[in-house]
């Protein structure tokens, strides 16, 4: 079964763009949450990750901070 993936990001952050591109390249469907326009989502992101840097990925409850390709691959079972 596909895992539910959320990406918390801001429009101009390069690692956010790369993280989302990586998911697209691997045909992963994700919810794209822009924390620059949705303040409550921003607060949710800070609470989940314990920090304020973007991007943050929520992969079925597993929180990954930054564009950590290896962790993302592992979490999604991509080889």
């Amino acid at each position: 079964m596909d895992k539910k993936v959320k990406v918390y990001s801001t429009p101009a952050c390069p690692w956010c763009i790369r993280a989302k591109q990586f998911l697209k390249d691997n045909s992963i469907i994700f919810e794209d949450i822009d924390v620059s326009t949705d303040q409550s989502a921003g607060e949710e992101m800070v609470k989940k990750s314990g920090q304020m840097g973007v991007p943050v990925l929520d992969i079925e409850g597993e929180i990954i901070t930054g564009f950590d390709k290896e962790k993302i691959k592992q979490s999604l079972g991509l080889l």
Partner: protein, 303 residues
């Protein structure tokens, strides 16, 4: 043995890779990331051929161009040492050791850090080096920008739209940067400027709650939820211990991009070349690759 190892994959390293690959050089690229500072640039309007392109988009085009040639690429790898041993250039990283006839160092620059207590533990917990990226998370909060040049002014103009109060802590007598930006920032009612001021500590619990600074001999405190550090750049040249550098730590090169060690070339913002621009870094990368190619043709190497 490889012909060439390219260290870094910003505009200089990527362009060097394209040129070297087209010369059919046997090469390896080692880099911590793709795009370097260009990936963090906002709007670019002075890269010929593009009247307007964003930093991340231009980097994507660079990367596609580089990958077209299929050169070996090691990402997320940090170079720890470069030296010449018996006519071979030996590059050591946190993951291995590689040898080649030549090397091009194109490792660029990074944001300068404050070097005060609290900075490391509060990184991403209120301290940011990218107002464009992290600014939106400080909506309605009080923030401080450290610095007084163009990048500090640019951060201030972005944060005025998001944050409540914007403090600027500048260690010189008055703000620098472009006059137009300086006037906009100084005249904004949300902005409070402290000149002749030097940050001494960042404080907080789980996240930052404030900072301490020294102004003309007095200790002052400010309650802020965000700190944006914009105090310039430092070259990523620490690993190149055997190379001649200027006082800023930039690697010295001649007009052929040669360093003081024959066979070791350098290009882009990590060097002492005047003017740090994406298009200049790219051009320097091309020169360095052609220089390395010529060096191999003119010298004998034992297999």
């Amino acid at each position: 043995m490889l012909d060439l190892i390219i260290i870094g994959a910003g505009p200089a390293g990527i362009t060097a890779t394209v040129y070297a690959a087209r010369k059919r050089m046997d090469l390896l690229v080692i880099t911590s990331d793709i795009g370097g500072q260009a990936a963090w640039s906002g709007d670019i309007e002075n890269y010929t051929g593009y009247q307007f392109i964003s930093g991340p988009e231009l980097v994507l085009k660079f990367e596609e161009h580089m990958r077209k040639y299929g050169s070996a690429l090691k990402e997320s790898e940090k170079v720890t040492n470069v030296e010449k041993i018996n006519e071979r250039i030996v590059v050591r990283t946190d993951k291995g050791t590689y040898e080649a006839k030549t090397a091009i160092i194109a490792s660029g620059k990074r944001s300068r850090e404050l070097a005060v207590s609290g900075e490391k533990e509060f990184k991403n917990k209120g301290i940011s080096y990218c107002a464009t990226c992290d600014g939106p998370l400080f909506s309605g909060k009080d923030v401080a920008i450290i610095g007084g040049g163009n990048s500090a002014l640019d951060a201030a103009l972005q944060l005025i739209k998001i944050a409540q109060r914007v403090y600027i802590i500048n260690n010189t007598a008055g703000l620098g940067g472009d006059a137009v930006m300086r006037e906009k920032v100084s005249q904004d009612s949300q902005v409070v400027i402290f000149n002749n001021s030097k940050v001494s500590a960042v404080t907080g619990g789980n996240f930052i709650s404030g900072l301490r600074f020294e102004k003309e001999g007095r200790q002052e405190e400010l309650a802020v939820q965000g700190i944006f550090v914009e105090i310039g750049l430092v070259p990523n040249s620490e690993f190149a211990t055997g190379l001649e550098k200027n006082v800023q730590g930039e690697i010295k090169v001649n007009c052929y991009n040669q360093t003081n060690i024959s066979g070791v070339f350098a290009a882009g913002d990590v060097t002492d070349v005047p003017e740090k621009q994406i298009i200049i870094a790219a051009g320097e990368g091309a020169k360095a690759a052609l220089g390395a190619f010529r060096y191999i043709a003119q010298n004998k190497f034992l297999s």
